[in-house]
Symmetry: C2
């Protein structure tokens, strides 16, 4: 196998990259200046060492605990439960949330062999027992697996009446067009209609 | 800037990779096994040293001359002129060509500031003078720039009556549908119609 084949084969293992994209990337890498290739190679080789899950919330971090868990300025009565570490960054980027997070590591999906025992529910219960949370926001994906996981969390906390459990609103995306909304989203946004 | 930001920023410089794809790739790289990351990093870091243009034809190679130029089994009376090194691999993959190649390094494009002096025409003429080619196949892209380049090659070889100059056929793509063919492709395939 030539050096080019080796590179293309490695690149196709990345998510969303097929043989054609990998070839384009490889040809680009042959022509770019060497310093860029070395910087990219260095970043890829070391990312696994530099970034790891926070021991408290499970989101990606370079320090333990992560900057969010150690930030004394954040609202410690709020905890937002998400599926994946990248969801934390997505919600942070919205700028609309100032509380803490908890990363489950996925969603309950019996078909994929993911049961509650594979997700960090035990750690979540421990945090709730030790903390003083007033509200838990469920921010799992609006999918069947995310819905199942949300129901499971509600069941898990049925004896914690001190915590109000909420879930991200589902509805029409801002800037979207009613005409292009799918049936299920439209039905949900009707059911969840709010006083204007 | 965090290690994650650095990696994402480097990845977005690859062709066809926007911020969303780069994030997905970065998250994937955090989670994959370290050996894959190291192999990919190594392939990226060294590709520029391992692969270089063939001193004869200009296509990408790991040895000089390239395997095609040094292959005595190929038809040395045929030379196929292409724009970019990757075009050689595309034509090779078709399995329909057994001659030699010549890579111009682009196409004539006055708007982009690319004149004939920026492409390897001098080298092409020298190869033609020293070789014994009977046919030169122009395989530049079926674009305005490719057409201009093709006309320039014909002009360049006007004193070489010993060489017949041909060009790749334009027309309907195989497996395509007449209904979806664009006007220009359809017009070309009509003009270039062949006896059946």
């Amino acid at each position: 196998m030539t050096a080019l084949d080796t590179l293309i084969k490695s690149l196709t293992r990345l998510p969303g990259i097929g043989p054609k994209s990998a070839s384009r990337m490889a040809y680009h890498l042959i022509k770019t200046d060497k310093s860029y290739n070395l910087a990219l190679a260095e970043a890829i080789a070391t990312i696994g060492e530099k970034i790891f899950p926070c021991s408290i919330c499970g989101s990606f971090t370079e320090t333990d605990p992560c900057p969010i868990c150690s930030d004394t300025g954040r609202d410690r009565s709020l905890i937002c439960v998400v599926e994946e570490p990248q969801d934390v960054l997505t919600i942070q980027a919205s700028g609309a949330y100032t509380g803490l997070y908890h990363v489950l590591g996925g969603a309950i999906s019996p078909l994929d062999g993911v049961g509650p025992e594979h997700l960090s529910f035990a750690k979540l219960l421990k945090r709730i027992d030790e903390g003083s949370f007033g509200e838990l926001i469920i921010a799992t994906n609006p999918t069947e697996e995310g819905d199942t996981t949300a129901l499971y969390i509600r069941h898990l906390l049925k004896d914690h009446s001190e915590i109000s459990i909420t879930r991200l609103a589902s509805g029409l995306p801002i800037g979207g067009d009613l005409e292009y909304a799918d049936r299920i989203t439209l039905a949900r946004s009707l059911r969840g209609r709010v006083r204007f």
